[in-house]
């Protein structure tokens, strides 16, 4: 072990190769800056060294350390592996799990500078974000996610053994198609507890096995709880969480099928905040790694060579190609988020008149880290950009807006980075991060009392139509087990049945 005196000062590492001691020592230095100087409060970190193949594997299982087996993960793995081998799209340097303790993956092929960057970015930045952002606090349960994943994996494996793999895979295919419709966006979900899940699921098996839905019709007053008997309620109000509705009320599902619906729903719930905070989360983590790495260099703890390597990595990650660049693939969430957080820090300490108009809550507050932590805690991408995207950033990125209408032959420029355009651009960008801009809005509006036909209404967002909904609709019908009607919410026309 390195003596304490040495650990507190001096260069942390030299050269590209890393050792476990380097990582330990660097983590300690990074953590001290994060905690003492930036006021971060993180979950304990679990840092795992993995190979590039394991990293790809983790990607393919949507980044989770444990996951049930499914062919679609193999497909994603095959794609990533192909891309990786061909040399496009290098692997991300980091992968971090929203769990307590927070699991950080470091790839063994990384240079030590990259490892340091990842420690600052993920083990400090993302970790603090997971622990403090309101959306994560409400919608996910970091302490029990890994246990729940183990439960899910074992349950799926067990069902495959009992029912045969094709049946389980086919049913999961259907569940996956409805993944985006398993989220309670309006109310806080209940906490996950694997022990409770198991107990609940046993109870369901007991109750359901004795009750076929045919019997329900004959004996409507049967003593079991309404939910377990699968009697559909008259929908008091439209239901957005289709998987919830299916789990509780689909007429002819078997208990194990309801459980798979529930697992899909719980996973969707867990990932919901990640999709809603991409810009903020990456922006915040980038801001944190940038600050920490610069501090380390100021303290004389990194060599100039290492610092230059870091700056190159940083510039790479934050690269924003312009719209007519062949590399353009949308706004880079790292770049956008980083720009906003950096702007918050600037406006907090050195505001000008524009900041006082556009960022009134933080301009000149003189507590940059306080303002940043507050921003990271209380928003999601959409509200964050609405609140903090300033004219300075709009000018720097030279943002402009095009209006695209399906019937029009040309795109119209409807805002540019000028006095008239700032507010409009800010609103439009924020709108793009709204859930409904990216996910068609479907609601269950009716369940027929006798036929149990489920009516789903599509509420179009800005006159969009559904892109070939047939295959997804077939999956929906599989899950409901009775007829389903997909209706256009505006015109009332049946889209599919």
């Amino acid at each position: 072990m390195t003596p304490v005196g040495l650990m507190r000062s001096g260069v942390l590492w030299t050269g590209a190769e890393w050792t476990f001691t380097d990582i330990e020592r660097t983590y300690e230095a990074v953590e001290r800056i994060g905690r003492c100087e930036l006021g971060l409060s993180c979950y304990p970190n679990q840092i795992e060294i993995i190979s590039s193949e394991q990293m790809l594997d983790a990607y393919a299982s949507i980044g989770m350390p444990v996951f049930y087996s499914h062919w679609s993960f193999g497909k994603h793995f095959a794609r990533e592996w192909g891309r990786y081998k061909k040399g496009h799209g290098g692997l991300a340097y980091e992968l971090v799990i929203n769990s307590d303790p927070c699991i950080n993956y470091l790839m063994d092929g990384n240079t030590m500078t990259t490892q340091a960057l990842v420690l600052a970015h993920a083990a400090m930045g993302h970790n603090h974000f997971f622990r403090n952002n309101e959306l994560f606090r409400s919608w996910t349960d970091a302490a029990s996610i890994v246990d729940y994943l183990v439960f899910a994996r074992d349950y799926v494996a067990e069902q495959e053994r009992i029912r045969g793999r094709p049946a389980v895979e086919r049913f999961l295919d259907a569940c996956h198609a409805l993944r985006d419709y398993g989220i309670d966006r309006a109310r806080r979900p209940s906490r996950l507890s694997p022990a409770r899940e198991r107990a609940r699921q046993r109870l369901r098996d007991d109750v359901d096995d004795s009750q076929v839905s045919e019997i329900d019709r004959i004996l409507p007053g049967y003593g079991a709880p309404r939910e377990a008997r699968g009697i559909p309620p008259v929908l008091a109000e439209p239901e957005e969480n289709l998987l919830y509705l299916i789990e509780k009320h689909a007429p002819d599902l078997e208990p194990w099928q309801r459980e798979l619906v529930r697992i899909t729903r719980k996973m969707a719930q867990y990932f919901y905040p990640q999709g809603q905070t991409k810009v903020m989360n990456e922006g915040f983590a980038s801001f944190i790694h940038h600050t920490i790495m610069n501090r380390l260099h100021d303290q004389g703890r990194t060599t100039t060579g290492a610092h230059i390597e870091f700056l190159a990595l940083h510039a790479n990650v934050l690269f924003q190609p312009e719209f007519d660049d062949p590399r353009y693939g949308g706004l880079n969430p790292y770049a956008l988020g980083f720009a906003v957080f950096q702007d918050i820090a600037r406006a907090a300490t050195a505001p000008d008149d524009e900041d006082r108009t556009w960022l009134p809550t933080i301009a000149g507050c003189n507590d940059p880290m306080g303002a940043i932590r507050e921003a990271a805690a209380s928003f999601r991408d959409e509200s964050f950009l609405r609140q903090y995207l300033s004219p300075k950033i709009i000018r720097r990125l030279r943002l402009f807006r095009l209006h695209d209408h399906a019937d029009a032959r040309a795109l119209e420029v409807t805002a540019i980075h000028d006095e008239r355009g700032y507010a409009e651009l800010r609103e439009s960008i924020a709108d793009d991060y709204e859930w409904h801009a990216n996910h068609p809005m479907l609601q269950a509006v009716d369940i027929d009392k006798t036929t149990r036909t489920l009516t789903i209404e599509y509420r179009p967002y800005r006159d969009r139509t559904l892109l070939d909904p047939k295959s997804a609709f077939i999956h929906l019908r599989t899950l409901w087990t009775r007829p389903v009607v997909l209706r256009h919410g505006g015109t009332g026309q049946t889209i599919m049945s």
Binding site: I47, F77, Q320, L402, H403, D404, A406, E412, R464, L466
Partner: protein, 426 residues
């Protein structure tokens, strides 16, 4: 904030493998269809990855999505240099709407991915019912090897297994309740420590009893002896040579050579599975024959008439010179369009009569002319070989027309259908 560092690099990689196998299983049929086409493009010695493409339906992951071409939307883009408010920009032609950043089709269209050479071979050979093939083509075996086969109660002294024998002895002594020497020694000690005369006498008696019993039960009995047993096992020889013969006369076009290459490829994969060492000899011919390298072998042909027996002669010379020893398993694979000089027939038959007894299998693949009459037409070479096949059951003959015929032809050649039966296209 505490932390732990864990090294996971040695963890098993089974998770990705399981999911990957499931994925490949899911697309197996389609993969097979494209995989033997991949063989047509690969060199026979190429062990690199191959790119396979499969259609979307079986592996689509449908979701409800907005149609990006419908309705209206606002795009906010970075990097404005020239546009002012109210400017109109022509929509880009190729759908999608310019730089909207729509991801390339998830689930729609074709999906390409890489498979390693071993995976490819697995996929193809599984299709060929490999185990059956192995048994069938094992043939007679000349060499045998000794192989361990458990233990026997008798045998030569050199094969005595001491450990086994001692454990037998121990088991017998325990079963017969033989007193342990340790127990006797313990009694001895307690006797010396004992002051009371009567007790000492009792201990002495006990010791005497135990000693007598120990003496009566043999430490090592002939019953205990165990010998290592060996069996003679037939040992298939581990080396094979595959002689590829191809007709490169003008009548053999691009299609013929591609089909031929696929067939040779299958055979080489198959032999590589079966034998530790596989040599490949390439012989090409028109009215003359020569041994050549792989590249020349598949390169385009030359003009001239066709005299097949020249190739047999070259092949025979190569075999005699380089592969004469008993432990070479010799396979022939010939691809031709069936054209041959009429007068060459008897010479061919004679050459084959010499070659066939020396070889495990001779596979003759005739690429049919494109055209309506191909099924009924019998070529010169086919007629000759058909007659030879009646004398030599290890000559197999098949006709192929296009890519989809190659694998079935290969399988039927090696899977024990009546030799010489003329299998038309399915």
């Amino acid at each position: 904030m505490s932390s732990v560092i864990i090294d996971r690099r040695q963890n098993p990689k089974d998770r990705s493998l399981v999911n990957r196998q499931r994925f490949i299983e899911r697309v197996r049929d389609e993969v097979r269809k494209s995989s033997h086409r991949v063989l047509g493009d690969k060199g026979l010695h190429d062990r690199g990855d191959s790119e396979l493409t499969v259609g979307g339906s079986g592996i689509a992951e449908p979701r409800f999505m907005h149609d990006p071409r419908s309705g209206e939307r606002d795009l906010v883009l970075p990097g404005n240099r020239q546009y002012s408010l109210g400017d109109l920009i022509e929509k880009p032609q190729a759908g999608g709407g310019g730089a909207g950043g729509t991801q390339p089709g998830e689930g729609d269209g074709d999906f390409s991915f890489a498979v390693s050479h071993d995976e490819l071979v697995d996929i193809i050979l599984e299709d060929l019912e490999l185990p059956r093939l192995l048994r069938r083509s094992e043939g007679s075996v000349e060499t045998t090897a000794l192989r361990r086969a458990g233990y026997a109660p008798s045998g030569p002294p050199s094969a005595l297994d001491v450990e086994r024998t001692m454990s037998q002895s121990l088991a017998r002594r325990i079963a017969l309740r033989a007193p342990s020497l340790a127990r006797i020694a313990e009694l001895q000690r307690s006797r010396e420590a004992c002051d009371i005369e009567a007790e000492r006498a009792a201990i002495d008696a006990e010791i005497a009893r135990l000693a007598a019993r120990a003496h009566a039960i043999a430490f090592l009995d002939p019953l205990d002896l165990r010998y290592r047993r060996f069996e003679r096992q037939p040992k298939p020889s581990a080396r094979a040579v595959m002689v590829c013969i191809i007709d490169v006369s003008a009548s053999m076009g691009e299609r013929e050579r591609r089909l031929g290459k696929q067939f040779f490829h299958l055979l080489s994969l198959f032999l590589n599975r079966k034998y530790r060492e596989v040599d490949i000899v390439f012989v090409r011919h028109h009215h003359e024959a020569e041994e050549c390298d792989e590249e020349t072998f598949f390169a385009s042909g030359s003009t001239g008439s066709t005299v097949v027996s020249t190739a047999y002669r070259v092949a025979e010379a190569v075999i005699t010179r380089r592969y004469a020893s008993e432990d070479w398993n010799i396979y022939f694979a010939q691809v031709s369009d069936g054209d041959n000089l009429g007068a060459d027939g008897p010479t061919c038959a004679g050459a084959l009569d010499r070659l066939l007894p020396r070889s495990r299998h001779f596979a003759y693949v005739e690429v049919l002319r494109e055209g309506p009459s191909h099924v009924t037409r019998t070529t010169d070479l086919w007629t000759v070989l058909d007659r030879v096949a009646r004398r030599h059951p290890n000559l197999g003959m098949r006709q192929v027309m296009d890519d989809d015929d190659v694998v079935p032809a290969f399988r039927s050649l090696f899977a024990g259908l009546p030799v010489g039966a003329q299998v038309g296209r399915a």
